[in-house]
């Protein structure tokens, strides 16, 4: 039987409003994994919004793509050049499509019923952008540095999508020790962590990055167009690094190496390593990457520092008592 009374509808409407208010107050409390998924969703949404910036619809975007090709092997560089030409010929439709895709990925991850296809799409999209938009993060052309965003911010999106994939929580006894271990297992997750942070340690001491002025020049070159306070931070950091590039690179590499092996250590040391990872990531994000140069206009993403911090949070070792489900996307979505 269907209601045909406006009074009924009004009553329902009042309930709906009251329900909305109460529902808003009584939030669905997301668990640690869901919180990290939401952070990933927010970053994708931010990327999509940044992609709508004015300069992306002109020659700037295609020039940015073409600029990552030099120095890479031909098998990597040629497709980049091809993609850049297509974007240069059709800047408006291609960029509008790119921006919209990223917005939809962000909103899809935020929705509990759409998270799986959105995460899957984000992996495919991130790998494509890593190749065609970032030239594999410069890892093959000698220009990669943990300070400038190696091994490519966008590949960390793909890694996060894998590690935050919604899977059913096991029973309390066999629940993995940290969020990132849920979909792939603790051993695999730790190996992925070690490979990522170990590669960052390696890139910190490559020939281009261990010169006396290498880090100084990198940081000093960041301040253009930034707000005064951030430019001042850049100048201060550059002064500290001036002529100390080798020592700074070695210190950075050692710290990154400690982080890389930290997840294999006992709980207190493992937690210390995660804290160190987050501190390094945020330091790089602010001092070395200027928040991805978003404040200067012209950024397409927040760069790698923020993503590394989010990734580190996914490896935070929970105590056995804390390993109980409070909310499961798997349960809700199924």
């Amino acid at each position: 039987m269907v209601s045909d009374s406006p009074a009924a509808a009004v009553a329902g409407g009042q309930l709906l409003r009251a329900g909305a208010s109460t529902a808003t107050r009584q939030a669905v409390t997301p668990d640690a994994r869901r919180r990290l998924q939401l952070v990933l969703a927010a970053i994708w949404l931010l990327d999509g919004v940044l992609q709508y910036q004015s300069f992306m619809f002109g020659r700037g975007f295609s020039q940015m793509l073409a600029g990552v090709a030099p120095g890479n092997p031909a098998i990597i560089a040629d497709p980049i050049t091809w993609a850049a030409k297509i974007v240069a010929q059709h800047p408006v439709p291609t960029n509008a499509a790119f921006a919209t895709i990223q917005v939809l990925i962000g909103l899809g991850i935020a929705g509990r019923r759409t998270i799986r296809p959105a995460l899957a799409a984000s992996i495919v999209w991130a790998v494509a952008v890593w190749w065609f938009g970032e030239g594999l993060g410069g890892i093959l052309n000698g220009g990669a540095s943990p300070v400038n965003g190696a091994p490519g911010a966008v590949i960390i999106y793909a890694l996060l999508a894998v590690l935050l994939w919604p899977v059913a929580d096991g029973d309390r006894s066999d629940r993995p020790p940290f969020v990132a271990a849920l979909p792939v297992g603790a051993a695999t997750a730790k190996v992925l962590w070690m490979v990522l942070w170990g590669s960052l340690a390696y890139f910190a001491v490559t020939a281009a990055n261990r010169t006396a002025q290498g880090l100084h020049d990198m940081v000093a070159g960041m301040g253009g167009g930034e707000p005064g306070w951030l430019s001042a931070v850049n100048r201060g950091a550059a002064d500290v690094l001036a002529h100390n590039g080798l020592a700074a690179s070695i210190v950075l590499a050692v710290l990154l190496g400690v982080v890389a092996v930290g997840v294999f250590l006992p709980l207190p040391l493992s937690r210390a390593a995660i804290v160190l990872a987050i501190v390094i990531a945020l330091l790089i994000w602010v001092v070395g990457q200027d928040f991805g140069t978003i404040l200067a206009g012209g950024a397409t993403d927040p760069n790698s520092g923020l993503l590394l911090a989010v990734l580190a949070a996914a490896y935070w070792p929970a105590s056995a008592v804390a390993r109980r489900p409070t909310d499961s996307t798997e349960a809700l979505a199924s």
């Binding site: 009004v10 009251a18 808003t24 709508y52």
Partner: protein
């Protein structure tokens, strides 16, 4: 320069939000004489119109300074509502999950955007007749750091809203529903009583469908039982088709959907202005 058609698309979305909010105000007023969330709907109407005018110069309505004053009032109002929520049972938790915090932030962001536009205009920047002009003259924000903070808040709130919306829908999948919103058993009884008292027997059987209840909406029933009774006693003023449209517009998912659209659009506008 961001193509005008993209800005027009977002302007159209904002006009839709304003239109929906206007209809919600009209429906609740005309059907029940009450509009419990009228302040939110009014804010959505104002923001929708104002943002559409910023995105498309042809849709401008009021001078920027007037909009600054309007949103100063809106922001102050929601600041008062947030403070009231914080004093109530929700306490400090109101800042995180409160009903009015997002609207307070939205109002503050509107002030910031219009103030930034006005400042840029007085400094002689080109194209202050709307976002279409603004997007061609980047770097108009004097304090981009604040703009960035607002952008982060907007995208954060958009994904949080979407998560909460889909989370509630998932959890209440087997609940009693009114136009897609769950109704627990106790609330269903109140609806039935109210309907019977107001001579509207179709309410319980027609609007409410089968399922089981949840605690959050049960408390909603307690809070709204008086409104419910009076609403059920309203004389019949609408046709069935009006009722269907009204029920759709009064669905809280529509409100939250509007808020998500506004958050995303506002984030876009702020990024274009950095």
């Amino acid at each position: 320069m961001t193509p005008a058609w993209i800005l027009y698309v977002f302007a159209a979305i904002m006009l839709v939000v304003a239109g929906i909010s206007t209809c919600r105000l009209f429906i609740t007023r005309s059907w029940s004489g009450k509009a419990p969330d009228a302040d939110i709907d009014v804010a959505h109407v104002l923001m929708g119109i104002a943002m559409a005018g910023m995105l498309a110069s042809g849709l401008r309505t009021l001078p920027n300074d007037v909009w600054v004053a309007v949103f100063a009032i809106v922001t102050a109002w929601f600041a008062w509502r947030v403070a009231a929520e914080a004093r109530s049972a929700t306490g400090a938790n109101a800042l995180a999950t409160g009903h009015h915090v997002p609207h307070f932030i939205h109002g503050a962001a509107m002030i910031y955007m219009f103030a930034a536009i006005s400042a840029a205009g007085s400094a002689g920047s080109s194209g202050m007749s709307g976002m279409g002009g603004m997007s061609g003259s980047m770097g108009t924000l004097k304090l981009p750091t604040i703009g960035f903070v607002f952008v982060l808040l907007m995208v954060g709130w958009a994904v949080f809203d979407l998560d909460q919306l889909t989370g509630h829908l998932s959890r209440s999948g087997g609940d009693r529903r009114v136009a897609g919103v769950s109704l627990p058993a106790g609330l269903r009884q109140r609806v039935a009583l109210a309907a019977a008292g107001g001579g509207s027997p179709a309410l319980a059987a027609g609007v409410v469908t089968a399922g089981s209840g949840g605690p959050d909406l049960l408390s909603a029933a307690s809070a709204s039982s008086a409104e419910l009774t009076s609403a059920a006693q309203v004389s019949e003023v609408a046709t069935p088709s009006d009722e269907a449209v009204g029920r759709l517009l009064l669905d809280p998912r529509v409100t939250i959907g509007c808020r998500i659209a506004m958050s995303v659009t506002m984030a876009l506008m702020l990024v274009l202005m950095i």
